[in-house]
Amino acid sequence: MPVYIDISRCIGCRSCEVACQRVHGGSGHINVHFVGDSASVPIFCHHCEEASCTMACFSGALHKEGERTAFDVEKCTGCGLCQLACPFGVVRANKIAHKCDLCEGLAEEPTCVTTCPANALSTDFELASRRARSRAARAAAHGGKR
């Protein structure tokens, strides 16, 4: 289950970056980008269904495991093709590939999700639309004012 983001909630505190670095021995896979004064946007792997990085990886190090785009460090040759094949620029290659592993084997839930103080990150795809529906319901109960 990939991590989803509601950027209208992100406060740009970069806690997700620190949490990711803590769990992955100092090298994190999530970066908060600041777009002018308008927004802060955590950028990380989408675990794409049709993952370009897995198509470019000739050794089978990057592969799909269900919804997750998994990485087998033993098979990585460090060629860097995955980095060039990622449309979002979120696979890094520095001798070996580095990307989000959803904290598989490291934590029960992705650490960025459990750390985010603003609840901007979630593993629940439906969460954003449920929040919108409940806001609408509250608004209706208060005579249309939100």
């Binding site: 970066n31 040759t77 460090g78 060039l84 001798k95």
Partner: protein
């Protein structure tokens, strides 16, 4: 000893990364990447195995054969102009990805854009969508 088929080499540096004896030397300046294979006596074929392009083969040690060299111009990102990859690497990506994945939702041919600009574009688009969403909500 290693024989290199320069026409197949992508310039990816896999061989140099895996070589346990540092016999494959990489040099990179701002616009150019060069790889130099030293004459090697090791009984090891890691570089051959790890080459994504199958450009390397083992051959018997021969002092008279010159040490191979390959150089690549690095391709400039079409947005920021920074040099980020070799042309054969980008061609390889273009040959393995289906055509529909090579353009994004706004028609951008992203393979020719460097990873830093790709991340910036992603952040800017997400921001645009959020701002649009907010302006739709407000009366």
């Amino acid at each position: 000893m290693i024989k290199v088929d320069a026409s197949l080499c992508l310039g990816c540096l896999s061989c140099s990364t895996v070589c346990p004896s540092q016999n494959i030397i990489r040099t990179q300046t701002g616009e150019m990447r060069s790889i130099h294979w030293k004459r090697c006596k090791e009984e090891c074929d890691l570089c051959v195995e790890f080459c994504p392009a199958k450009a390397l083969t083992l051959m018997p040690f021969d002092e008279t054969v010159p040490e191979p060299d390959v150089s690549f111009d690095l391709v400039a990102c079409k947005i920021c102009g920074s040099r980020y990859a070799t042309e054969p690497m980008l061609r390889r990506i273009e040959s393995v990805l289906p055509a529909n994945l090579q353009k994004d939702s706004e028609g951008l041919e992203w393979i020719r854009v460097c990873p830093v600009c790709r991340r910036n574009i992603e952040a800017e688009r997400a921001t645009r969508q959020m701002v649009l969403g907010r302006s739709r909500k407000s009366p």
